[in-house]
Amino acid sequence: MGVCFDCLVVVNGVPDIRACQRVVEPGDTIRFQWGAELPAAQPQKREAAGADHPGADHPGGERPDPAGPDPARPEPHARPPRSDEQSGGSRSAEGEAW
């Protein structure tokens, strides 16, 4: 387990989390991930960098950045996150605790 990357989900706005490896925390917002996605809300200390990102608010159904480093091919039904899915963004700084 942990090697196929077929189970990637979006946790608290952060994509590319392996569902089979991540331990759920109370209050986590979790949804399916459809193909390649960019983070909806950046961890606090990188907020500025996230806003600068050219693909941060790409239109629905479009490939965020065809020449981008993400090797995952976006699926045709890739779509931007809805605003209600971005709730929990404030929690996405979970890494800071470590």
Partner: protein
Amino acid sequence: MKVVVVGAGPAGMHAAVAAARGGARVVLVDSAPQAGGQYYRRPPGGTAALPHVFEELRRQPRIEHLPDATVWAMEAVPGGLHRLHVQQGPADAPGRRSMTIEAAALVLATGAYDRVVPFPGWDLPGVYTAGAAQALAKSQRVAVGRRVLVCGTGPFLLPVARSLLAVGAEVAGVLEANAPATCLRGWLRRPAHPWHHRAKAAELAGYAALLARHRVPYRPRTAVIAAHGTDHVEAVTTARLDPDWNPVPGSERRFAVDAVCVGHGFTPQLEPVIAAGCRTRGGFAEVDDRQATSVPGVFAAGELTGIGGADLSAAEGTVAGCAAARHLGHAPDPAREAAARRRVRHWRDFAAALAAAHPVRPGWQTWAADDTLVCRCEEVTVRELRDAVEHHRARGARSLKLLCRVGLGPCQGRICGRNATELADAFLRERGAPPLLDPDAAAKRPLAAPVRLADLATPPTAYEAQEGT
């Protein structure tokens, strides 16, 4: 000067304890939240009866265990040291604690993962690796389906069936692809060691009784050769196989199930072995009788060196831990080390018999249809792979990747690497061409785990600086 052990499965735990007992300071780095590896999976904070080594790991003041810590890269630094790049924190989270650890002696014990060969429908939700079904049952008490078929090859299918029954699933059958004659020849090929044969025979009898009690049929020379469904597995086609795993025409049957567990043996997690520059042989880390690799100060133990179960991994771990401590000038207990080496020799015979009894035979290549995905990440079909060989003249694994993108996705060929190599070799053989030039290229991954760009840009702190050592 310390020993760093990567992986806290049976091999890594025993290595850490043996090295610490021998007098060395040890840092045990493991990506899982709790020690135990694949074998000792249990619910978080689980109280299941655990062997003594867990207690010793906790008590031993010379061991520091870093849980939730993934080694994502390694490099050699002057002075014969190895520098490990580690991220510690919740799996795949951005902004985890980022550090480097320098090791004067290194024990690699990262284990193995399931191998599955492709068949039509193997990418449907509801098709699980046998190991994943096992892990979900053992650590989350989750059954992957209500009515489940377990198939593939090897004795590992039996504990998977047992775990599924324990969490309330109906097991529709256990299908072993190899013929009883193949299995028998394998098990009898080696001089029998009554010691482990007795233990394993008792275990086998236990499984047989359990399957009988639950009326679970066990079918040799049978496999799932296709899974059907739209959004999820609804049914599978099984077939009788000849000794080479070619389906016997007319033997196909259809079963309604909502999950399938598939296991065709294991592939070692070799990234750190290759990153350290250690020689491999036959797809495993090459080690001597002290578990030393070809690189001085680097030892390997457990399923990295061959597939032989938890007992072999544990014994190899003890030998490797002693050797690593000695490499740093300590003097571990020679009697304990000699006993562990004897156990390693015995279980290696068992491992060799296991490999001979449960081979993966080439007939699986006939199960896949033209449009069956070989590489799931990049959605490369059998037809596209064949085109790359036949029309674009790919002759090496590297050119194969560039021509059809096989193995270039997020899993980096962990799932498809061996299958794609074997398929390509078969296509080359059909054309009278030699096999792929660089068959091991599929296992070369400079990064052992994905890292977010923002985290790459954040300078790590040295573990040594934090610890004041």
